[in-house]
């Protein structure tokens, strides 16, 4: 255990970017690129990876192109188009369904253009339940949770990256270890806790437990560790304290990571169903996901209305993603690659 601890502190983890071709020459471990967090621990204990052996993503693309000759570009685009279609088609199908008459939803062969179109699905779906209320509730919970969570993650990440204190790495590993505990196991104890606090049927029952976010702490710690010490020393010379350094220097320098985390968190909280199900009991506090769940009846589901409501419920997520998109991609790609 103790040897792992020391190496965690000293070695910045080097992740392959998600596009890294598996088994490229220099790669000695086969790792799952998206499991950033789990890898962090793994590499730390191994610490064998040599920095700078892997070419940056752009270099790899042109390398591939050179390899494939004139076929490279079309092939490259074909792959991208295929991937994009896989992502977009379900959305388009949902949108198309949201405009259909209920009896046409399962029509075979499937029709992409609803005929007849029924735009009234939208007002119907939004008035069948107090949907505006649900949206407002979700917005409140999600925004509060995201803001607090990012603040706490930044502070914890900074502490783990820069402070030296006893058992630092043990605590850090303990924080990471909590990610391995499945949500379902936590539910009942969490319910008992919230009940003890008298928080059943309150928004804080959704927000407070989710502010502590190990993945966020981990990602920001990795990012902060790559910020050159010299910058920090300069700030300290100018009389900045830790809070100043964190929020005036580290956070602005880590915008891509912050944006990526913000989007992740926004999506998680906006989409979460289990916690609202368990903790919210009065209808006027329902979130959008709970509201959507009530569309699925015991015998019948009004698919067209459900899809219309889902489209509306997705608008905030898509908006947030579009705004933060550029940072998001950078943030995911660079976390751990940067020196």
């Amino acid at each position: 255990m103790s040897s792992t601890e020391t190496s965690t502190g000293d070695t910045p983890a080097h992740e392959p970017s998600p596009h890294a071709p598996q088994g490229a020459g220099s790669q000695r471990h086969l790792v799952q690129p998206l499991r950033v967090a789990a890898d962090g621990v793994h590499h730390a204990s191994g610490a064998e990876r040599v920095a700078g052996m892997e070419p940056p993503p752009q270099a790899r693309v042109s390398h591939m192109q050179r390899h494939l000759g004139w076929m490279g570009k079309p092939l490259y685009y074909a792959t991208l188009i295929f991937g994009a279609a896989m992502m977009v088609v379900p959305f388009l199908w949902m949108f198309s369904t949201s405009l259909k008459v209920e009896s046409d939803v399962f029509q075979f062969p499937p029709e992409w253009l609803p005929d007849p179109a029924r735009p009234e699905n939208y007002p119907d779906a939004l008035t069948i339940a107090p949907f505006a209320r649900y949206l407002a509730n979700s917005a409140f919970v999600t925004i509060t949770d995201t803001v607090f969570s990012l603040t706490v993650c930044a502070m914890a990440g900074y502490a783990f990256a820069r402070f030296h204190f006893r058992f630092r790495n043990t605590i850090f590993i303990a924080v990471l270890a909590t990610m391995m505990v499945p949500v379902h196991v936590e539910l009942i104890p969490q319910f008992i806790l919230m009940r003890g606090l008298g928080w059943i049927d309150t928004f804080q029952a959704l927000i407070v437990p989710s502010i502590f976010w190990p993945f966020g702490i981990f990602l920001l710690r990795q990012f902060f560790m790559t910020v050159p010490k010299e910058l920090e020393d300069a700030a300290r010379m100018d009389g900045a304290g830790h809070l100043r350094i964190l929020f005036g220097l580290m956070v602005p320098l880590s915008l891509p990571a912050m944006a990526a985390l913000g989007i992740f968190k926004f999506m998680f909280t906006w989409n979460s169903l289990i916690a609202p199900l368990i903790f919210l009991t009065s209808r006027e506090k329902f979130t959008v996901t709970l509201g959507l769940a009530t569309f699925q009846g015991q015998y019948e589901t009004q698919w067209a209305l459900l899809m219309a409501a889902t489209v509306v419920a997705l608008v905030p997520i898509i908006t947030v993603f579009l705004i933060g998109q550029r940072y998001f991609i950078q943030g995911v790609a660079l976390s751990g690659l940067k020196r």
Partner: protein, 439 residues
Amino acid sequence: MRYHTRGGTATSPRTTRPAMARAAALVAGSVLLLAACGDGDDGAGSGSDGPVNLVFTSWFADQELEVADELIAEFEEENPHITVDHQIIPWDDYSTTLQTRIAGGEVPDVMFLSQLWYQGFADIGAIGEIGSAASSDAEFDLDDFNPDLLDSGYYKDELHWIPYGIDMQVLFYNADMFDEAGLDYPDESWTWEDLRSAADELTVGDGDRVEQYGLIAQNDFGSGWNWIWQNGGQVLNDDATGGAMSSPETREALSFFNEMINEDGSVPGPDVISDLGYTTAFTGENAAMGIYGHYLIPTLEDEADFEWGTTVLPAGPVSRDSFASGAGYTMSAQTEHPEEAWALISHMASADGMSQFMELGSITPSRTSLYESEEFVSREASEAFTAQAEHLTPLPIAPEWNEYYDTIQSELEAVYRGDVELEEATSVIDERIGEILGE
């Protein structure tokens, strides 16, 4: 469920649900024990007219929710010292959510529960008997309830569950398709053979591509199991200690259904049904007949641009029984206000309360006086349900329902897909049910 392989190893995400439910139920049981030990003495105050707050959970939605809320408002007006907190939990997650809350120590005073689950809740001590309250309530009139369905409200010889409506199935038919084929509409004279030959004739399609199926029935406890009682078979043995799926009567019944799917091709297999949608297959005019419950009537009235009708299920060698199931009211075993909780159930399930739900048109009420009333039968399509209510077999329930139902489903699905022989599957099922119930 769709991609279940034989043997059902825990690969599909669907299987996590029962597993989670099981875990929750276990914890719930132990927490309740603790609660029962500790809470003994704060139950004083009951019976007096001090303010009482009741928690009632249900999955009512839409119009049913409006009616339920109106009934509750009425109840609160009649009993000014009682307030009711009516909590909604969506249907899909109802049982697991409730189990988690119960495990966390929060037991609602009155719970709306399916016939399929209530024994599981009784088993962990969450709900208690209500038979004594029901029989001492002169106005309630327990004898008015459909006897077959009320029977399945008894757990360990005590009444725990008061049915809200009767879930049962009848035969729906597309009259236009019968006219086109020059066939007589189905009626109460029909037997299995009539059904099979008509379904065969009404199946239209060239080669592999079927445009119109003769009959929609699927692998579930409804249209997939009715055959069993109609042939005198059973799912569980008499004392519910093991399976009876490999008995000759049950095998013969399931094999009749399987032949319609895999030999005649007049009933679509599991994959086609999940593509078409079970109810939309009939409403979307992809099938000439279908086996459905009363809930389909309002949809057909609103949407169908074809002529349709209903009749009782065709008679098998032994009976023409449909399964009987439904949702119902149950009461917490720990409630501090049993009198008030019963009063609420009594109000909701009274003849008057139930008739307000009936007026919405989607349920068959569980009271004889209602489903035989002029008002119910005035709707032509509902008459078949009044007739079918004489021919019911309650579902074979036990606290372990979820577990053995999942087994039966996944094994039979492989049969209807044509992957496994019926004999083999039913033997495997009985073995598994024996393990589950023998534990």
